[in-house]
């Protein structure tokens, strides 16, 4: 057997830590435990598939690239939707990320897994999006309430989805709003690390790899983000 027949898949797996195949996987929607993750489309053999599909895509096989897209697109949409809070914006990020991947797949050199590579593209786009939103937020429509405090006008738009228990829905919505506000106070990078770790259950090593940094830096960023969030949520009570 030629050496490279083995070498390629191992090289691809090289920078994919064990959780990489499950981290951004399908999430059990009802559960509140972020450690309870489902499977990722590209498990085990799936990663090996990726190698061949990437090679085919590099030769210009569009069907192979579309197969790769199908491996990752739901997880990409899930991440973008949770970060942006908007299906429309998530769809834009999805489109831009995969088009970018398609144009540049020829320069993918298997130095890391395709999984890491595609998430680098997606997280970079999401970070750009978060940065732009921070700038825009300064011009956000705000009003002053009876107590003289500023509030975001958009938060007052009623949610059309009425549930069976209005009181519980209201409480949940209030808590959701508080958490969203607290998350928005994080810097884009803190938000991204927290998002990948807490809501998508990735190992810090993977988070570091995706964000082109070390595990230690990802850990420190997570500490900072958590400290800020706890402080903000305590202040809001």
């Amino acid at each position: 057997m030629p050496a490279d027949a083995w070498a390629i898949p191992f090289a691809v797996g090289e920078c994919s830590p064990p959780d990489a195949t499950r981290g951004l996987g399908k999430r059990n929607n009802g559960t509140q435990d972020p450690q309870m993750r489902g499977h990722m489309a590209g498990q085990g053999l799936g990663r090996i598939d990726d190698t061949l599909l990437v090679r085919e895509a590099q030769r210009g096989n569009r069907a192979a690239f579309e197969e790769l897209v199908r491996h990752y697109d739901q997880a990409v949409l899930r991440l973008a939707m949770h970060l942006t809070g908007s299906e429309h914006e998530a769809q834009d990020i999805y489109q831009e990320a995969f088009l970018k991947a398609y144009k540049n797949v020829g320069s993918f050199r298997f130095e890391c897994s395709f999984y890491t590579w595609i998430y680098r593209i997606v997280t970079n786009l999401c970070l750009d999006h978060l940065r732009k939103r921070q700038v825009r937020k300064e011009d956000a429509p705000v009003a002053v309430d009876a107590a003289g405090e500023q509030y975001d006008v958009l938060d007052q738009v009623p949610d059309g989805r009425a549930g069976a228990n209005p009181e519980r829905d209201l409480m949940r919505r209030e808590l959701g709003t508080r958490i969203s506000h607290a998350l928005e106070r994080l810097t884009p990078r803190e938000r991204m690390v927290f998002e990948l770790k807490h809501y998508h259950g990735l190992k810090l090593r993977t988070v570091g790899e995706i964000l082109h940094t070390t595990e230690e830096t990802a850990k420190n960023t997570l500490f900072r983000a958590t400290k800020k969030l706890r402080g903000t949520l305590a202040d809001m009570r």
Partner: protein, 311 residues
């Protein structure tokens, strides 16, 4: 253990990121220290609270719409071609350079160790019992595929190198043996020798009930470069054309696009039991009208003629 250390690591404990020994020590400390136990409780409460913003699954409609939009865009998008790879990319070049120090260090270390070993032998004239003596033996048995890390213990001359190797191994077992199945699945998709791929696909066709096996057969039918392997995969999938839509789609795809007339003819025959299916009917109509292969054209026409008309 100090409370300061525990409080710094409680978050990692909650996120299951602590190594086993640190985890054990932390748990022992928590039993004794009420302050740290309270901090753990607060961290867990925060963890539960912040988890109340659910991560929603994208709706099937959104996924489908996104895929369609992307497909349309891909039609008009050019891939970065051959010339782009030749263009000097400073970022990639710098990235490559990052690994150079590690490689240079390794060459230096190996050279140094080799030099020391040789000198030692010459001077002592006896067998070399240095720990480095095991490296050449291993190198002969397997080749190094990459270096993961190089570190030196401070204040000593002890160097640790973590590296990956490629070695040839052999395993034996029946087709029901999980390890054998995994290797066959791997060989069916990845081997560069089409003879090996053919053998593995041939064996896998004996177990097409397994989902992974079926996936591998569909993959072989779609992407394998050898028509013999594709034909074998087609044989294995034949029984599932009726019940598994994915198999049917793959066979239809083979019928439409495969470069080998033998594979296409076989696919056409396999689709006979489901020829009334609307997707099969559409493909048959197209083939009967414009396919370049006369046999396929006439067969498609015959199959269509046997079907009841639908208005």
């Amino acid at each position: 253990m100090k409370c300061e250390w525990v409080q710094e690591n409680i978050l990692l404990y909650v996120y299951n990121e602590l190594a086993d020994d640190a985890r054990y020590e932390l748990e022992q400390h928590l039993v004794r220290c009420t302050d740290c136990a309270a901090e753990l409780k607060a961290t867990r409460k925060f963890h539960a609270e912040i988890s109340q913003v659910p991560v929603e699954e994208p709706s099937p409609n959104l996924v489908a719409a996104s895929r369609m939009r992307l497909q349309e865009a891909l039609e008009t998008t050019e891939q970065g071609g051959f010339w782009q790879r030749l263009v000097f990319d400073p970022a990639a070049w710098l990235h490559q350079m990052r690994f150079s120090p590690a490689l240079a260090s390794l060459i230096f270390i190996v050279g140094f160790a080799g030099g020391i070993g040789t000198t030692y032998k010459v001077v002592k004239g006896g067998p070399n019992e240095a720990p480095s003596g095991s490296i050449p033996t291993q190198m002969a048995e397997s080749s190094v595929s990459g270096i993961r890390s190089i570190s030196q213990e401070p204040g000593s001359n002890r160097i640790s190198i973590r590296y990956d190797t490629i070695s040839t191994e052999e395993t034996q077992g029946s087709l029901n043996d999980q390890r054998i199945q995994q290797l066959l699945l791997f060989a069916a998709r990845n081997n560069y020798n089409s003879g090996v791929r053919m053998d593995s696909v041939d064996l896998l066709t004996q177990k097409p009930n397994d989902t992974n096996v079926r996936e591998a057969l569909i993959y072989a039918l779609r992407y394998d470069s050898n028509p013999g392997v594709r034909l074998k995969a087609l044989d294995g999938l034949g029984a599932y054309v009726k019940d598994d839509v994915r198999v049917r789609d793959a066979v239809l795809e083979g019928l439409m696009n495969d470069s080998n007339p033998g594979v296409r003819t076989e696919a056409l025959h396999l689709l006979k039991p489901v020829q009334a299916d609307s997707s099969v009917r559409v493909v048959l109509r197209r083939l009967s009208e414009s396919d370049q292969n006369q046999y396929i054209r006439s067969q498609a026409r015959t199959m269509l003629a046997q079907l009841p008309e639908i208005d």
